[in-house]
């Protein structure tokens, strides 16, 4: 076992950057989940499926537009919107009738969507691997301390803070964000002052799912787009939301940082068991802070 044999300062720095770009994806997906969980109280297992659909849609759109730079940007915009549309239909058609059910039922209901979406993706895209290439100017890598670092990951490092800023603006500076935060604390009171809570919920749900689609579209150039990527991400996203504090946007960021960095450091320390490290970090956090690191909206 090649335990801790190749650790240098440069390698650590490189892995930190890799971990941070992983954090970006995790944060975007987890923040959407956290938003839905915090405001609507729905533990949306289908969030991972929407992420997968986002990736597949991005592939299709980019291919449709010739696979060039323009195709990539269009995919990045249209794929999350497509996912948002799907979630809008699901919310207005089914979820809005079930808000009063207990969490376990909601969780199972969204799981039924996971099952259906999983097979629909197989039906539409088949079970082959797909891959999407980044625009030419983001391909390749440059070297940091003589170690290669993909250009596309740098792009992710820029996008992450932008999304965080956008979400902060949305929840703190806009009317819908303020109503949503109020509804997260006391939905009956918000309804009592004459606000259509159902419509606010629909908007929040769609925004949350948009983020899942965005995460999927962003991750597409970095890995194979396959069946089963929904199952992997959703557990990670849930754990991030839990350790960050349910419904807390900054908690999602913190959780994603912990998850992304322990994962990339794990690859450096003990590649075979790298996926074990984030889980151990989660357990340690929850042992000391059972309700998450930051304040939950629950």
């Amino acid at each position: 076992m090649e335990f801790a044999s190749n650790i240098t300062i440069a390698a650590i720095f490189q892995q930190v950057l890799v971990g941070l770009s992983r954090t970006t994806i995790l944060f975007i997906v987890a923040s959407g989940l956290s938003l839905v969980l915090g405001v609507l109280r729905i533990p949306n297992v289908a969030h991972g499926s929407l992420y997968m659909i986002g990736a597949f849609l991005a592939y299709t759109i980019a291919t449709l537009f010739g696979g060039g730079t323009a195709g990539f940007w269009l995919a990045l915009i249209i794929a999350p919107l497509g996912v948002a549309l799907i979630s809008f239909i699901a919310e207005r058609g089914l979820f809005c009738h079930l808000y009063e059910r207990e969490h376990l039922m909601l969780l199972l209901f969204t799981f039924s969507f996971t099952l259906v979406f999983g097979d629909l993706v197989k039906l539409v895209w088949g079970s082959d691997y797909r891959s999407l290439s980044a625009p030419v100017f983001m391909q390749g890598s440059f070297s940091i301390f003589d170690l290669p670092f993909p250009r596309y990951n740098l792009f992710l490092l820029v996008i992450g803070p932008l999304v965080a800023l956008g979400l902060w603006f949305l929840t703190n500076k806009t009317k819908i964000g303020k109503i949503a935060r109020a509804a997260a604390v006391d939905r009956e009171m918000v309804g009592a002052v004459g606000i259509n809570v159902s419509r606010v919920f629909a908007a929040v749900f769609v925004i949350g799912c948009f983020l899942a689609g965005l995460g999927g579209a962003l991750v597409a150039p970095t890995q194979n787009i396959t069946q089963g990527m929904d199952h992997a991400i959703i557990i990670e996203a849930f754990l991030i939301v839990i350790i960050g504090g349910l419904g807390n946007m900054w908690g999602a960021l913190l959780g994603a940082l912990i998850f992304g960095l322990t994962d990339s450091m794990g690859i450096l320390l003990w590649p075979q068991f790298a996926i074990v490290f984030p889980y151990i970090a989660v357990i340690i956090v929850l042992l000391f802070r059972p309700k998450g690191l930051l304040k939950s909206t629950w």
Binding site: V276, I283, P290
Partner: protein, 318 residues
Amino acid sequence: MFSGLTNRRTLGFCIVFFILLLFLPLFLPRFYIYLLALIFVTGLLATSLNLVLGFGGMYQFHHAVFYGVGAYAFALFSKKTGLSPWLGYILAPAIAALVGMVMGLITVRLSKLYFGMLQLSLGSLVWAIVFRWYSFTGGDDGIHGISVPDMISSTTGSYYFTLIVTTVCLILMYMIVNSPFGRTFQGIRDNPERTEAVGVDVKRHQLAGLVIASAFAGVAGSLFATVEECAFPDLLFWTLSLELIIMCLLGGWFIFMGPMLGSAIIVILRTFVGIYTEYWTLILGIVLMLLILFLPEGVLGYFQEKFSKSKNAALVEN
């Protein structure tokens, strides 16, 4: 709630049903015998989950872990040691119970969704270890060609073995549910604060419930390894755990035999729908959706309610 099962007619029905099952291998083709054995295993697993989920009200989101641990414990024992495989049937539940206790010690401090999520994360950790530890567990290939005692290695032999073990386990679990411990457990489900107030150590009861449930799941795991003669990481994957919850929900989780019925329906559906289409999970998803929308009490719960309503109506008329 259990009057329906304790009365003489139901008991008689169960005995007749058991005898029928004993004679089935004489008539049925091999495939159906194998399918029935699989139903027993899955049903035992779902019933063990229901001990904590339905009767304890605990959000056990990752029960499949103990199933997988049981299967792997049995498989590794028979592969790596030269000892009699029979010992594996004792070892499997013991290891599963041990894992259940370690996880439980960490998780029982939390409740509801937080408890479930921590179970899920600890379970995923176990899965990740099994999935990655190639040298010991075989990684994603799993373990094949497990040696099973000769007596029960044939399809019919493993059928009888699973039938008998499942029956014994069901009786044991039924006794546990109706014991003072089981009653307290249900009290905790219905009102944890009040149960605590009358002097019950809620957390300790919940921990004990978790350990018992994991032990029975371990038995189911060893039975699975007997029937299929293999073990693989998917047995510990979280999607199976949620499928188990579907089985409990489908049959009705406030009724002892509900999960058994639910798993029979799911296993049969999966087998026969799987012949016609590869999109089995699509069907399962739609079934689950309809179930939550229209039958939240489960199939058995629905009929019990209907039955008792018509009985009440008859009483009123008289």
